[in-house]
C-alpha cells in the first residue's frame, strides 16, 4: 500500500530547485572542461520526487536502452546528503581510460580489468564531485565524500534492484544524462537525496532566493 507522499516542495520551491540545478550542472560542465580538460556534456537536469519504493522502477525505466551496465556509487554527506549513482553502459571503463592521461609506469603493470574498474571509479569520483560540489556551493554547504565503489560491473540492467534503497524514505532524485563526446560514451547520473536533507533543502532554496531580494 503506497502512501501518498506529502508535498515536499511548493511549485515555487520546485522552480527554484530546478534553476539551482541548471546553474550547478552548467558550472560543473564548464569547470570540468576549462580546468580539468574533461569534456563532458551534462543535459538539463530533471528532478523527481519519489517514494523510495519507486526508485528502482524509475531508474530502471530511465536506463532501459542499456543492455549491460556498470554502476559507480558514492555517498556524499553535508547538510545536503545522499547517494550518487553513475550508470554507464558496460564498455565505458575501456573507453574512459585515456581521459585521465596516458598509462604511467605503475598502471601499465595492472590487469586490464583492474584498470577499467579503477578508471570508472576515478572518473566517476570527479564527475560526481563536480555536480554535487557545485550544487552545494550554490546552497552554501560543504560536502564530505566516501570513496566511490563499483557496485556492479558489466551486468544486465536488471541488477538495479530494490535492495539498493532504504524503503522508508522519500527521495528527491536529480537525473542528468552525461555524454563524453570525444570518447562516445553516455550514461546517467542520479543524485538521490535522503529524507533528512529535505527540510534543510527547503530553507536553503529560500536563502538562495533571498540574495536577490
Amino acid at each position: 500500500m503506497s502512501r501518498q507522499p506529502e508535498p515536499i516542495f511548493t511549485a515555487n520551491e520546485r522552480d527554484i530547485l530546478q534553476e539551482v540545478m541548471n546553474i550547478g550542472f552548467g558550472k560543473a560542465s564548464a569547470d570540468l572542461a576549462e580546468v580539468i580538460d574533461i569534456y563532458v556534456v551534462l543535459s538539463v537536469p530533471e528532478v523527481a520526487l519519489l517514494d523510495a519504493s519507486e526508485l528502482a522502477g524509475y531508474i530502471g525505466g530511465e536506463i532501459r536502452d542499456f543492455e549491460r551496465i556498470s554502476v559507480v556509487e558514492q555517498s556524499f554527506m553535508g547538510r545536503f546528503q545522499g547517494v550518487a549513482l553513475l550508470i554507464f553502459p558496460s564498455e565505458a571503463g575501456r573507453k574512459l581510460i585515456s581521459i585521465l592521461g596516458q598509462e604511467d609506469e605503475q598502471t601499465a603493470l595492472h590487469s586490464v580489468a583492474l584498470l577499467e574498474r579503477e578508471t570508472l571509479m576515478e572518473v566517476g569520483n570527479i564527475l560526481i564531485g563536480a555536480c554535487v560540489g557545485k550544487l552545494a556551493e550554490l546552497l552554501d554547504d560543504q560536502i564530505a565524500y566516501s570513496p566511490p565503489r563499483v557496485l556492479v560491473e558489466d551486468d544486465p540492467r536488471e541488477t538495479v534492484t530494490r535492495d539498493m534503497f532504504n524503503p522508508d524514505s522519500t527521495a528527491i532524485v536529480m537525473r542528468t544524462l552525461f555524454s563524453f563526446e570525444n570518447e562516445n560514451i553516455s550514461g546517467y547520473l542520479f543524485l538521490i537525496t535522503r529524507n533528512e536533507s529535505i527540510a534543510w533543502m527547503v530553507s536553503a532554496l529560500h536563502s538562495f532566493m533571498e540574495r536577490y531580494e
Binding site: 522552480d15 530546478q18 534553476e19 546553474i23 552548467g26 560542465s29
Partner: protein
C-alpha cells in the same frame, strides 16, 4: 532611461532573478519569453532594446534564437545569460551575434556592467543611423 528589455529563459526563477538584479534607480519595460520561438515573435512585435538570452531551452534553444533574432534585426543587442561559460560556448555565441556573456548565478554588479556595455552598443548603432 526607459529601455525595453526582453528576458528569454525557460526558468521563471531565472527570469525573476534577473529582474531583481536590475539597477533599482532605473526604469525598464520588461517582456518575458519561455523559449526561442516565443522570443522571436515577441521581438518582432515589440522591438526591445536589449535581449537577455538563456541557452538551454526547449522548442527553440538560445543558440538558434540568437541567429533568428539577428537575422530579423542585425543590430539586435543580445546578452547571453548562462552558467556554462566554456570558451567554446563563448566563441559560438559571439559568432552567432551575441554582444557578451553574463555568468549565472548573477550579481547586481555584473548585470549593471552588462547593461552599460549594451548601452554603448545601442548608442553606436543609433549614431550610425
Amino acid at each position: 532611461m526607459g529601455r525595453t528589455l526582453l528576458i528569454v529563459d525557460d526558468s521563471p526563477i531565472a527570469r525573476k532573478i534577473l529582474i531583481r538584479c536590475l539597477p533599482p534607480d532605473e526604469t525598464f519595460r520588461i517582456l518575458e519569453a519561455g523559449n526561442g520561438e516565443i522570443a522571436l515573435k515577441v521581438y518582432q512585435a515589440e522591438r526591445p532594446d536589449i535581449t537577455f538570452m538563456d541557452l538551454t531551452m526547449p522548442v527553440v534553444d538560445g543558440f538558434q534564437s540568437i541567429v533568428d533574432i539577428r537575422r530579423f534585426d542585425p543590430e539586435a543587442v543580445i546578452i547571453v545569460a548562462t552558467a556554462d561559460i566554456q570558451t567554446k560556448t563563448l566563441f559560438r555565441v559571439l559568432d552567432a551575434g551575441a554582444l557578451m556573456v553574463l555568468k549565472k548565478p548573477m550579481s547586481r554588479e555584473a548585470v549593471k556592467d552588462a547593461l552599460e556595455k549594451a548601452e554603448e552598443a545601442l548608442k553606436d548603432s543609433e549614431r550610425r543611423r
